[in-house]
């Protein structure tokens, strides 16, 4: 191909003037007097540069040049020209910000080391979340270092520059807006006042165009929003106060996990579960699948999801005096509610506005509004109205939408197949999707805006009325990414960036709400430091209430049940699926089934047996598979798991799995969203058949019951506890000796470690009554201690590396060992009681592991910690064998380098490695490891105290697990500090040590679990 273009060196060449032609013919532009000099014989004769001089200069020149070559090598250490404020090597910096992805809201503190965020913890000062955090939030730091992230914006699938991207969008938008076209913005629930204002301004600036913002929640609370609109006139969610509720009745609401504002509810719930207070809430749960909340309930009744409405109505009728058709447990719940008027809460997880209307009526009847429920202090954590979303899809299908902008949502993945968002989206003339990594929606988009991770972004949030918070970046963007808001500002032709815009918004909106600070800059800086600002919020008062119950009740009675129903739920780790690529969360065992890396059909065990499906699975035992058709969508060869607690006639399947885009390894699980219908979280249109195949399933716990071992788990009922007789609920271990019965701790062959009197004596106390089993501690420990991800195959070989695990035990029908009916004790009851027991190294004072190590690689510190010396360990595994708690973890492979883990362990790529905590050694192959009681944190705490010339205070040091616990079930401290909480806890009458009779004298105490239940009702 010939090139017809001609290039000029300058305007002169283009003009081709005679002067230019003259110059062009000369080699040098200027006149050189060489001829004048060399041509003049006389001048040359008189010049005093002799041949000798020439040689001298030559010699000097060569020597100088060679000397220069001998220069010392340049060290490419690039110092901070100006050292960043307070960034000192080896010293962590903390930034307050928040996590708000439309599913979870959490005020957090980000720990950065050398400028890299490495750990996320709850913001303890936040009045909203009180430092509570869950696994999804504390694992989100890993998503920042995701190899698969977009590194630049894309147009038509090709990487481009932001200038090009923005100018293209701007041009298209200008055309569309000029002709009054349709622009639709689809986002997840946004609580950010600035974003909302910005979108509002965008709409207002183009009055002739049809611009609309639609919120979309994959797990919708539309029913609640609409019911509140009908009952109170506002489409918002109320805020709750579970800590004051003496009676909690949940109908299908997993309020500890997937219910809106679950973190707030979780931390409140724990406050009402302390028997030391003299009272304890009573928790009733009516549900189909055994949820995290249901596993903590005092009274649980399995039922079909189609019966939730009827149960709500039954309670409603009971409260209205119509006591005829209530099941015994429903009756019990209703009576308890009546006995606790104004101190109770009824929650329902249904997405049916009629059911929610009746729930509102019940709470209203009980006088809970204004006491435990506040509609005026609204929560904005779910905003999507299903009808709006459906309307948008219809508009798209009609081909009338010119520009579709999607931010923070993945509708192609999580909208049901029958809504066909993919097809609908392709009809939009332009689709712009902001995503941080390729997802099902972004790969279908014409343009992709590479979005930054939230730890690289500026934003703000207003999760609950009056609670304003700022999202601040803790690292500058790793890649060439821009936020949607920044782009919108640029498309609108405004000055400045989103940061300026947020500041302007705050200056106008939140700054006037207070009078403490006079200058906005001061206000801004203090808020930034604290992470949140408490603005004006609604008072606890009952709003004007419209009772819609009677109409709703008649609608509910029309709900049809079927013989087989399925409930869609969300798992603790994966949530709504927007972090399903996060290996920490995939490897986090489900708190109930303990299954990792998969979703599956959960079935009632009795029905599984009837159908001939395997009821034991995990390790090398495979699950059976079925073909199941839900709402016309068929899943083939999906595994079936026998789940105790699953209501007969129901199945359940977790959403958030089965994402096909952006995975390097195989697709994990099945996309349950695709089978949903109308955003309803259950379906009665289910048919299944055995597929006859096997499916490999990975679980961290294959034995489900505690085998009557009362020294492992201790539990009692509130009545027994309140008698105050310790021997009745927490008897000491006595040993028969020739001197009569002696306490096990008084009989000892060994000399005690001298930790009881001098220095520190670290220990921990875990309250089984507060622990809900959510697994937040597990992922927190993973990220603090660089625990490797090992993947499904290794978990099937029972080799997970988690230092902290949560043992989950189901009750069995013969409970006592006296019967010696071990066979029956191995199988859980069909509707079991559940205990969650966090388990990690117990730091025994007389540690069985320490005596057996041939090379003394594991020893006792003089502060009571059982410590591992990795570089001394030769890997005989004798310590792990001799550990009665089985908490030691062996490095079976080189997880940092072995091919098998290349796609699994994030630390195998350069980016993923950035999340590693530099204070904790990454362990080599062949080395034993285990919980260190976060010894690096202890050292930091001691150093900080020393720098300030004061003793370490109780609460100064928290372990990763104790700090991550949303219910404060884990207390860490110093037994030698007589005022410490941990000492008090260890001396309480609920305190016991696991298998104390072995004589390990562990430093970890547990508090007996107390159930608020009559002994004969399970």
């Amino acid at each position: 191909m010939s090139n017809n273009k001609k290039y000029w060196k300058g305007v002169e060449e283009l003009n081709d003037s005679p002067a230019f032609q003259k110059v062009k013919s000369q080699e040098f532009n200027e006149y050189l007097p060489a001829e004048d000099f060399l041509g003049d014989e006389g001048l040359l004769e008189n010049s005093n540069t002799s041949r000798r001089d020439f040689l001298k200069y030559l010699g000097f020149g060569v020597t100088a040049a060679s000397l220069a070559a001998c220069e010392a090598p340049v060290n490419k250490v690039i110092p901070h020209v100006i050292k960043g404020d307070k960034t000192n090597p080896g010293v962590a910096n903390y930034f307050a910000t928040n996590y708000s992805d439309g599913f979870d809201y959490c005020d957090i503190v980000v720990k950065t080391r050398e400028g890299r965020p490495i750990k996320i913890e709850g913001n303890k000062k936040s009045p909203l979340t009180n430092g509570a955090i869950n696994a999804r939030v504390n694992s989100s730091v890993l998503s920042l270092y995701d190899e698969k992230r977009y590194r630049a914006p894309q147009i038509g699938g090709e990487p481009t520059t932001w200038t090009k991207f923005n100018s293209t969008v701007k041009k298209e938008l200008a055309d569309v807006l000029a002709k009054g076209g349709k622009v639709r913005i689809l986002t997840n629930t946004i609580t950010s006042p600035s974003t909302k204002k910005l979108v509002g301004e965008f709409v207002a600036a183009n009055p002739s165009a049809d611009i609309k913002h639609v919120s979309y929640d994959a797990i919708s609370a539309s029913g609640m929003l609409e019911a509140n609109k009908e009952s109170f006139g506002v489409a918002v969610l109320p805020t709750y106060n579970l800590s004051k509720a003496k009676s909690i009745v949940s109908i299908g609401a997993d309020f500890m996990n997937s219910f809106p504002s679950s973190l707030e509810l979780t931390s409140q719930y724990a406050k009402g579960r302390k028997p030391e207070n003299g009272w304890m809430s009573k928790h009733f749960q009516f549900e189909a699948s055994l949820s995290l909340s249901g596993s903590n309930a005092d009274v649980r009744m399995p039922m079909k999801p189609s019966e939730y409405g009827k149960t709500v109505v039954a309670i409603y009728n009971y409260l209205n005096g119509n006591k005829a058709d209530a099941a015994p447990k429903v009756k019990m719940a209703a009576e308890h509610l009546l006995a606790n008027k104004g101190a109770s809460i009824v929650l329902c997880g249904s997405n049916d506005k009629n059911i929610q209307n009746v729930v509102i009526a019940i709470n209203h009847m009980l006088g809970n509004y204004g006491k435990t429920i506040n509609i005026d202090k609204s929560s904005f954590q779910r905003q999507a109205i299903d009808a709006d979303v459906a309307g948008l899809v219809n508009e798209l299908k009609g081909g009338t939408v010119d520009v579709l902008i999607v931010d923070g949502a993945n509708p192609v993945y999580n909208m049901p197949t029958n809504m066909d968002f993919k097809g609908a989206m392709s009809k939009a003339k332009t689709s712009i999707v902001f995503a941080s990594r390729p997802n099902e929606t972004s790969v279908e988009a014409k343009m992709v805006g590479a979005a930054p991770h939230y730890l690289e972004s500026w934003n703000d949030a207003n999760a609950v009325a009056g609670h304003y918070s700022i999202t601040q970046p803790s690292i500058s963007p790793l890649f060439d990414t821009k936020q949607f808001q920044d782009c919108l500002i640029s498309w609108m032709g405004m000055d400045g960036n989103y940061y300026d815009y947020i500041k302007a918004t705050w200056s106008a909106v939140t700054f006037p709400m207070q009078s403490k600070t006079l200058l906005f800059e001061d206000f801004w800086n203090t808020t930034l430091e604290a992470g949140y600002f408490n603005g004006s919020a609604g008072e606890m008062a009952a709003s004007t209430f419209t009772d819609n119950a009677s109409f709703a009740v008649s609608a509910i009675t029309k709900i049809k049940s079927s013989d087989l129903e399925i409930e869609f739920y969300s798992k603790v780790g994966i949530g709504n699926g927007n972090q399903s690529h996060n290996p920490w969360l995939q490897e986090l065992p489900d708190p109930i089934s303990k299954i990792t890396w998969d979703n599956y059909i959960a079935m009632n065990p009795a029905e599984a047996r009837e159908n001939g499906f395997a009821t034991e699975y995990g390790e090398q035992k495979d699950a059976d598979t079925i073909n199941i058709t839900i709402n016309g969508v068929t899943f083939e060869n999906i595994p079936v798991v026998a789940q105790p607690g699953q209501a007969p006639g129901t199945l359940s399947l977790a959403v958030g799995y089965g994402q096909t885009i952006g995975k390097s390894n195989e697709v994990i699980g099945f996309n349950a969203y695709s089978a949903m219908k109308g955003m309803q979280n259950y379906s009665t249109d289910v048919s299944m058949e055995a597929a006859g195949d096997k499916y490999q399933i990975a679980t961290t716990q294959t034995h489900q019951t505690v085998m009557g071992r009362t020294s492992v788990v201790r539990e009692t009922t509130l009545d027994v506890y309140q008698t105050g007789v310790k021997d009745d609920f927490n008897p000491a271990h006595m040993l028969a000796t020739h001197e009569g019965p002696m306490n096990i701790n008084d009989v000892d062959l060994w000399a005690a470690h001298p930790v009881a009197t001098a220095g520190h004596h670290w220990g921990m106390s875990i309250d089984l009554n507060s622990c809900i089993g959510c697994g937040s501690c597990v992922t927190s420990c993973n990220s603090e201690n660089n625990v490797p991800v090992v993947g499904k195959d290794e978990i099937r070989r029972a080799r997970e590396m988690h230092w902290m695990r949560i043992d989950r035990y189901f009750s069995s029908s013969p409970e006592s060992v006296e019967d010696r009916n071990y066979g029956d004790m191995e199988s859980p009851e069909d509707n079991p009681q559940v205990v969650h027991q966090p388990m990690m190294c117990q730091h025994c004072n007389h540690a069985p592991c320490e005596t057996v190590c041939p090379v003394a690689a594991t020893t006792h510190s003089n502060e009571g910690i059982n410590q591992m010396t990795y570089n001394r360990c030769i890997g005989t595994r004798y310590c792990a064998n001799n550990c009665p708690y089985k908490v030691r973890r062996f490095n079976w492979f080189n997880y940092m380098g072995y091919d098998k883990f290349a796609d699994l362990n994030p630390s195998q790529d350069d980016l993923g490695r950035m999340v590693l905590n530099p204070d904790v050694t990454v362990r080599a192959r062949g080395v034993m490891e285990k919980c260190s009681l976060c010894v690096q944190r202890i050292q930091t705490g001691k150093l900080d105290a020393k720098k300030e010339s004061r003793p370490v205070m109780d609460g100064d040091i928290e372990t990763a697990c104790s700090s991550a616990c949303p219910t404060n079930a884990i207390t860490f401290g110093d037994y030698n500090d007589k005022s410490s909480k941990v000492l008090a806890a260890s001396q309480s009458n609920r305190a016991y040590r696991v298998i104390e009779e072995v004589g390990t004298q562990s430093n970890v105490y547990y508090q007996t679990k107390v159930r608020n239940v009559e002994p004969n009702i399970a």
Binding site: E619, R709, V712, A798, E800, V852, Y885
Partner: protein, 461 residues
């Protein structure tokens, strides 16, 4: 000359002269190896090569190539270790204890039994080595002076005691065996004619002259070494058993273990000797030296030790109930009825029930049946260690951590490999070493040889 009662059965059958004994023993050394030897060593070498490959893969990749897990940290590795150490015990018992008790029948079998001991201990030593996560740091287990300050080994650890016990046992056994070989090497040296073998055997013979002084010293050192080795027979397996006995794991934490392990070791060791010798006497035409009587004697040892082991098993069961300890009781109920019931009953059948058939003289003098039983006993004893190690570990205190153990091809390959290496070594021994102590046998020819036994002697009158 020592006289033996006429009713004692002769220990050397046939019309043997001194030179015939020499020729019979040397036949394999000077003659050409037969076809069956080549086939046997070929198979053994393939097994060994496969095993070495597996071991290299294991060391190169990680212990994860075995089927171990978070709960079962030892399985085939330590099972094989204890099994091999146990097998080794018979050799020392035969050569040392029977020497002290002047049991002359030991002479036909002690050389090969000792060779078996040496090779078995070598195979045993492989396992603690390769089971380490970081074998390249194995020298950490020795109390070596170092520059790391007060870094020292942990003398509380039974695993460290193992290091000393096994290394002592191995060195004493090796020396004992070698001392015994010296006169026989000298005999071969004197008999062979080829240049290279002659050189090699003369080196091995350490310049043995066979004079009275040398024989006198030989006798004395044998006695001293037997005295040293005898306690080792009991100490080594006692210490190995302490790996388990000193732990806190139900099923391991048992004071009965030392005697129970020692008798189990002798039991399995004799079974392995039977396995080897029954083949060897046939292939090498040594039926006149290793007689039915020898086999019967060994079978009697097997009944006795097997019964001791049986009593130990029953005692364990009784104590687990009598102790009233929930975990202890469960550990044993689980052994018998849990997911590993088949290994427990394999152990019970092979070790306790089946040896009792040796009460029948017809069976204990049957060569074919003895061979069959020797294999059964060795299988049973392998299962005994598997039962102790795996079924105790797989369900201990916290039910949440209960798991199963699933062996991988590497587990199996490494085990087969040690069997292969063992047989390669033993076949080489049978080919190049005097498999019977020919000089010692000559000392009993006149008293216990068949043709001399019933001749009237003039001195009697």
């Amino acid at each position: 000359m020592h006289q033996e009662a006429a009713i004692r059965e002769p220990l050397i059958l046939g019309e043997k002269s001194y030179s015939q004994i020499t020729d019979d023993v040397m036949a394999s050394v000077v003659g050409k190896a037969n076809r069956s030897w080549w086939i046997a060593i070929g198979i053994a070498a393939v097994m060994a090569a496969w095993g070495i490959g597996c071991i290299l893969y294991l060391i190169g990749t990680g212990i994860g190539t075995w089927g171990l897990n978070k709960t079962v940290g030892w399985a085939w590795d330590i099972t094989n270790f204890v099994w091999w150490v146990g097998i080794g015990h018979a050799g020392t018992l035969i050569s040392a204890v029977l020497l002290l008790f002047r049991q002359k029948w030991r002479m036909a079998i002690n050389r090969s039994a000792e060779a078996m001991t040496i090779f078995a201990v070598m195979m045993a030593a492989v396992w603690p080595g390769i089971h380490m996560g970081r074998i390249w740091l194995a020298y950490f287990v020795f109390p070596l002076p170092n520059q790391f300050g007060s870094l020292w080994v942990n003398f509380n650890s039974p695993l460290l005691w193992d290091v000393f016990a096994i290394s002592t046992y191995f060195s004493v056994s090796l020396v004992f065996w070698y001392i015994g070989l010296i006169p026989d090497f000298a005999t071969i040296r004197d008999k062979v004619t080829q240049v290279v073998p002659k050189k090699v055997y003369s080196l091995l013979a350490f310049g043995w002259t066979g004079n009275a002084k040398a024989w006198n010293r030989f006798e004395e050192i044998s006695l001293v070494l037997a005295g040293l080795a005898t306690p080792l027979v009991f100490s080594v397996h006692s210490i190995v058993s302490m790996d388990f006995a000193t732990s806190v794991i139900p099923g391991w934490h048992t004071t009965i273990f030392p005697p129970y392990f020692v008798s189990g070791a002798v039991f399995s060791g004799f079974a392995m000797v039977q396995t080897l010798l029954i083949i060897m006497r046939k292939v090498m035409n040594l039926e006149n030296y290793i007689t039915i009587k020898h086999i019967e004697y060994m079978n009697i040892v097997i009944i006795v030790t097997g019964s001791i082991v049986g009593v130990a098993y029953l005692t364990e069961l009784f104590i687990s109930w009598y102790s009233g300890v929930e975990y202890e009781a469960y550990a044993f109920i689980n052994r018998a009825t849990g997911p590993y019931w088949w290994s427990y009953w394999a152990m019970m059948t092979c070790n306790v029930v089946s040896p009792q058939v040796f009460w029948f003289k017809k069976l204990r003098t049957s060569i074919g049946f003895t061979f069959f039983m020797s294999i059964i006993v060795n299988i049973g004893m392998w299962f005994e260690r598997f039962v102790i190690i795996v079924t105790s570990l797989h369900r201990d205190y916290l039910p949440s951590s209960w798991t199963m153990f699933h062996p991988t091809f590497v587990d199996i390959g490494c085990f087969i490999g040690t069997i292969g290496i063992f047989f390669v070594l033993f076949l080489l021994f049978a080919r190049f070493f005097p498999v019977l102590p020919l000089n010692e046998l000559k000392t009993i020819l006149k008293s216990s040889g068949e043709q001399y036994k019933n001749q009237p002697t003039t001195e009697e009158h």
